[in-house]
């Protein structure tokens, strides 16, 4: 990432315990870094919390971010922390409006890297149209954390007439996704120490709230929205099948997957169905609206590769099946634990 602005704090090049102590160094961080990059009327109030208005039914979500490495191809922990929570709120059918931001920093963390991450958070929040309205910073002794951990919580409101829930999935629903799966997990793996393979695969981390709105612009009759993150596509589909007691069938031939990710998975013995995404949207929609929703999704850059990957039926309730590329049928189960590479 380009360092667009110089680091605004020059008297300390690393985070010290005092930066989390609530005194003058904490204030310096808030004023010179956080307010400068994330500032808005709520933050500038300097209050213990934020007071705000939102109409009607509200949706809320929280997520913690501990990704390693903190900078990876296609993104960084800051961007991820905004997108992750925005997407969870958006997948409730809500318009995400406000985020909280809590940082846990390890003593000795380079100020320059913190600045890059804060700028990245600012940019991602502006792009997604959300504001960070309250926050907190703590510093732990060296060795008691790992560089930086971030928690964000998000809140938004659900416009009238929307009813999104995994249990709303119905036989006959068509399942859409907005593009290639498994990019995020493979991008992270390729940049981890000890697993050196060169790829141009980038994380798909992106905010999905505008894409969700494009879906609702076609019809309010959307049954389920889900961003399949950790555990990959298979975990999300299994959760939805169980919650609604329906059967889900996906078509292997129609699963969008880049050639590079396919190759990396073949070499490492990984199944892309179980690999994390950070910018994918699953939409369950009644068949009569499927074509129009697909068209609307394709209008946006984050939806240009949208396609149909399966449908819901009442065979095998609670289970996910896959029509394989050779025409047979098999179960797609949830993953247990981390996916580990094969050894021969």
């Amino acid at each position: 990432m380009d360092l667009s602005c110089p680091v605004p704090i020059t008297n300390y090049d690393k985070i010290t315990l005092a930066h989390g102590g609530g005194g003058s160094l904490s204030n310096q961080l808030i004023e010179k870094m956080f307010l400068k990059e994330l500032g808005n009327s709520y933050l500038e109030e300097g209050h213990d919390g934020a007071i705000f208005d939102l109409p009607g039914k509200l949706a809320m979500s929280t997520d913690s971010f501990v990704v390693n490495p903190i900078f990876f191809p296609g993104g960084d922990i800051g961007k991820l922390a905004v997108h992750g929570t925005v997407n969870d709120v958006a997948c409730c059918g809500a318009l995400p409006k406000f985020l909280t931001l809590a940082l846990i920093l390890e003593e000795g963390f380079p100020m320059e890297e913190l600045w890059l991450i804060i700028q990245s958070i600012g940019q991602a929040a502006r792009d997604a149209g959300v504001q960070i309205i309250t926050g907190d910073t703590k510093v732990v002794e060296k060795g008691k954390g790992d560089k930086i951990f971030i928690n964000t919580s998000g809140i938004g409101y659900v416009p009238e007439g929307r009813d999104i829930s995994p249990s709303n999935c119905r036989p006959g629903d068509i399942i859409l996704i907005n593009g290639n799966i498994a990019d995020h997990g493979v991008a992270i793996m390729s940049s981890r120490e000890g697993l050196e393979f060169e790829t141009s695969i980038e994380s798909d981390t992106q905010a999905l709230n505008k894409l969700v709105e494009s879906v609702f612009s076609v019809t309010k009759d959307i049954h389920v929205l889900r961003d399949p993150t950790r555990g990959g596509l298979s975990s999300s589909l299994n959760e939805i099948a169980k919650a609604s007691n329906t059967g889900i069938e996906i078509y292997e031939k129609q699963l969008p997957l880049s050639e590079e990710v396919k190759g990396a998975c073949e070499i490492l013995g990984l199944d892309p169905l179980y690999i994390a995404n950070e910018g994918k949207l699953l939409v369950f929609v009644p068949e009569e609206h499927a074509d129009n929703v697909l068209k609307a999704m394709k209008q946006l850059p984050e939806g240009k590769n949208s396609c149909i990957i399966g449908r819901v039926d009442n065979k095998s309730p609670g289970m996910v099946r896959m029509k394989t590329s050779i025409g047979s049928s098999r179960i797609v189960d949830m993953i247990s634990g981390e996916q580990l590479p094969r050894i021969c």
Partner: protein, 360 residues
């Protein structure tokens, strides 16, 4: 993706499947040796393309599954030592020992690291001269050459804080043991393509002759496996038994000479215990005298231990093809991938895990 998708071609699969149906007139029991093949069979549900008369029996070719309990306990003991960094392929970390597993040792502060190549373990040794780095060397003839090479490299670079906890096993002695075991019903074998890439297939010729079984060198994609089954059925129907290479795009008769040389240099053949099966003569590889300085069992003076398996687990019978995973009373109940009683439920190539994932 080139060189992969051609072998996952629906039309070709249907064509070979039709040919198998036309050729097969009697009931046949065919064992695929390799766990990678078992995984493929389940992942593509290849049994859907076979006549009911053909039963596929899943063999012991998953190195994680056959590594004896005692050796896992030794790895766990080493991992708990303050001056040791235990390195391993990912699959071994969750395999249950008699009381713990390596991930639990790691959670208790043991330095356990997952590596993707034994050369990475050598690198860790080089970077941590104050520690003893042990690589838990598990695998068939496919992984043995790379593990041997890591020892050769360590010796060349004068790295003496590196050692192997060796649990290598060999395929042909296992085939022999299965065929010699009383009540064996296996009538043909799909030999493991990647093992033969390294070793060639000459050593299978006397086996096919002695036991009168067709042995077909087979790859891992749907088209490969069905082609291997077709070749086996053809031989069985004609009453012949010979070694046939259906994976000639990577397997030659002699195999990979350079890989064999490093193996022969570093390892020597020994009798080895297979988890769930017992001792199979001449079926394992241990470090030879010349490289005994790199043998973790000798360096750490690990004692001989005997351990009992969970009485509920029928992994031994599953690994010998005598029972299907679903015939185990613990399958999916006391034994699941989250809480495995036996290794075949842990490894992605284990028959129990494959059944659980794709068939339960």
């Amino acid at each position: 993706m080139k060189y992969v998708e051609e072998y996952r071609d629906m039309d070709l699969v249907r064509k070979i499947s039709g040919e198998i149906h036309r050729t097969c007139s009697k009931a046949w029991k065919i064992m695929e040796i390799c766990g990678g093949q078992t995984h493929s069979i389940m992942r593509y549900n290849l049994e859907e393309f076979l006549p009911d008369k053909i039963s596929l029996i899943h063999g012991p070719g998953c190195p994680v599954c056959v590594t004896p309990l005692e050796l896992i306990d030794k790895a766990i003991e080493l991992a708990g030592k303050d001056d040791v960094i235990l390195t391993s392929f990912g699959d071994m970390l969750r395999v249950p020992g008699s009381e713990s597993d390596l991930l639990k040792v790691k959670a208790h502060g043991g330095d356990v690291r997952m590596v993707y190549s034994p050369l990475d373990a050598v690198k860790i040794a080089e970077n941590n001269p104050g520690k003893k780095v042990v690589f838990f060397a598990v695998g068939f003839e496919t992984t043995a050459p790379a593990n041997a090479f890591s020892v050769i490299e360590a010796k060349r670079k004068n790295i003496h804080n590196y050692s192997l906890l060796s649990s290598h096993v060999l395929v042909p002695p296992a085939i022999k043991a299965i065929l010699s075991s009383p009540g064996s019903e296996i009538q043909a074998f799909l030999a493991a393509g990647h093992v033969c890439t390294v070793m060639g297939y000459e050593e299978y010729i006397p086996l096919a002759a002695e036991f009168n079984v067709p042995i077909v060198i087979t790859g891992f994609e749907p088209v490969d496996i069905l082609q291997g089954i077709l070749a086996s059925v053809r031989q069985l129907e004609q009453g012949v038994a010979r070694v046939e290479n259906e994976y000639s795009r990577v397997v030659s008769r002699e195999g990979n000479k350079a890989a064999q040389e490093s193996m022969n240099k570093v390892f020597t053949t020994i009798d080895r215990k297979w988890r769930g099966i017992g001792i199979i003569p001449e079926s394992g590889l241990a470090l030879s005298e010349e490289f005994s300085d790199f043998d973790a069992e000798k360096i750490f003076g690990l004692e001989k231990i005997e351990k009992q398996e969970s009485p509920l687990c029928i992994a031994g019978e599953v690994l010998q093809g005598k029972k299907k995973p679903t015939e185990c009373p613990a399958f999916g109940k006391e034994c699941t991938p989250e809480n495995p009683l036996g290794a075949p439920m842990v490894s992605s190539e284990g028959a129990c895990a494959a059944y659980f994932r794709y068939k339960h």
